[in-house]
Amino acid sequence: MKFAFWAIVSVFIYYFLPFRFRVAYLVILSCLFCATYDIYLPVYLAVYAALNFFIAQKLPSHPSKKALFRLGIVLNLTQLILIRYASFAIDPILELFGTDIKVSVLSSIIIPIGMSYYTLQGIGYLINVKMGWEKPEKNFLRFFLYIIFFPKFISGPIERSNLFLQQFPLKNEFDSSNLTEGFRLALLGFFKKIIIANHLGNSISQLYSCTDDYMGYQIIALILLQPLYLYFDFSGYTDIAIGFARAFGIKLSPNFNKPFLSENMTIFWRRFHISLSSWFNDYVFKQTSFRLRRLKGKATVIAVFLTWILFGIWHGAGWNFMVLGVLQALAIYYEFRTKNFRVKLFSLIPGYSRQLAGRLFTYCFYALSLTFFFAPDLPSVWRVFSEISSPLEIQKISLLNKSLFFSMVLVVIFLLYEVLQNDFNSVYRKIHMLWVNNKAVRIIVYYAGLFLILTQLDGNASFIYEMF
């Protein structure tokens, strides 16, 4: 809420400022935002951005282009591994050699907030410049803004430099539709997060802290709720980020596109956390399969598993995240290998039933795999799975409470809206026209949304993807 208040005030100040100061203003705002986490973080980010900026500047004309490019990638990855993955990847190795040195101490000096996101942006930018897909940015402030822009800093979307930087110079004239659309989207994001995700989250976080208190069917129900929690939390954040960016006149990439209407995992990952999955697809999968092309069929297999294992590890330093990645790889590999067979088999099932079955199966697979995402470690995952089959005991925790029921009703409304938009377009258009043509309905919905958000604020809400 404090964020929303300051963001709205900042937006209005932004439009009062002379045009030439606006980028600098956004950079200052973003630095202040980062400084609320750690006063030295903006300094670190400035150094990080400067390194990438200057390497990219030199890249096109440098005699040892490859070496300079590799240096840039190594620098990016080194800072990520040292600060974010030391406890997982370095400290245990040092311990094997009998040393007391803990590299993970670095993360208490430089807070790794947003690091997984801006590192991918930095690497993506260097690859783009090296491959000649993009010219190096000449204005450091613009590039620094690309790294640090506050609405997307903590949890993305992971912006592509060629899409973000090409929006500059921004338009001078004031466009009220940017503000209206931006604020509307941000309001929707707050609603998803505060009214839906927070209530779902309360129940799900309890599953991992008091697993023994749940009965088998309750655990299954909570596992099935996991994707909804993640979706409403993360898409809520993304809507807020895209909304506020839009209010400043900057367009960010969408991160979600009705993911639960995907009929298989391959499509699902084109619709869920799009900015991350497309980054891995473009910069890891495609690059790896191209480089290993002489291995023919094996190249794809290696590329799929490498991409998804890295994708899993990106989420955090833990074996559970690696398993999460491997599971996605297995699913996608299975879908790739059995495509023809499945097409033949499922053609026997009539149209919409086939779609529904595919969606349901995809959802259930993702829900199960998310246990590796939410559980703090692998033993916790096994505990949750083993408790499913535990004998029926007296119920210790009641799952269905008023707030969970209320948020589930809203979830159904949201998902129905997506189904209408996707599958029943004529009905959707009628509803949409009702919305567009009826100002009174819009105002009532906005007030109701705002009111609900204000009544449910508790001051300590955090987003799931903040920790990455």
Binding site: F174, L450, T455, D458, G459
Partner: protein, 342 residues
Amino acid sequence: MRSLLGYIKRTLVFLAPFLVYLVVYIAIDPFMVIFKYDDFNRRSHIPKNRDYVSSEVYMRNREKEKYNSFIFGSSTALFVRPSMWMTYLPDAAKVFSFDASRENIIGIWSKIKYIDHMNDRIDNAVFVIDYNYAFDKLDKENVLFVKHPRIYRSSWCNFQYLNLLKIFDVNLVRSMVVYGLTNEFKPYMSDCLLNERSYIDLVTNEYVNFSIQEELNTDSLRYYEIRQDRFPERSGKECEYRQQITNDHIEMLKEIKSIFVKHGTDYKFIISPNYQQLSFNKDDLEILRSILGADHVFDFTGINSISDEKSNFYDALHFKPYVGKQLLDIAYNIQPGLSNYL
């Protein structure tokens, strides 16, 4: 520019109901945190942040009253009353109860530092702490427990923001409005309003709850009957609470000790008894004794003659004032220690 101003105007019109609500909140100031008050006894049905009230009363009176003796601690400290403690102190003692709900060592440390910073004397001090909250994490979210921003040196905006959020609690607002109009306490109000007669002394900050005493005097059996859930089952065996004191706490305790040495303070550190008979962690107790001195630390937790008796308590944590007197008697060597409390 004209279109921007027009847009701002339209936004303000849209937000007008919320802005009006905000203005009404500021004007009424239901939690008494926006304006300065001489008397916090107004609107006693609305729960207030006790840390804020204590701090405000202290800041308002300190120059005039020249306090030099302080009671620090959580809500259990309310039952070691200034009027009671005065009798153990020299005549020149000017007592102030600097208690706070769920007070912990961070809150006490910040208060002692503030008093010292203001160059006020600390001749006498008594700490009355809970075995579980004293070294717990600082609550920065709950509006009833968050610290006074000036004493704890935290954000004033954040403090006001947390209070502001409360006015969007539909049940609270409904209860406040209905109670304000009818002056009648209805069952649904019990979640958010207080149905009690209490008084905060304008000088010593002594808090007295008359309603509880009246209820006990009228029918003490019924009092305990309807509050059965506030008295958790106890095993009858020695059970120790987890270790809580961290290095940061140790540094704070050392700083408190050095301020006391500077002021020549006579201090008593009382760990209050609890009905559940859980013992304060022995390692933590050792740390306290080594820093503050074994003669100054009095542990009344665990199984003993005070905690044995249910009628000594209002609930699992809060003992009655006569128990408070008994604790002071032991701390000031007027009565020998409990037979089995050491």
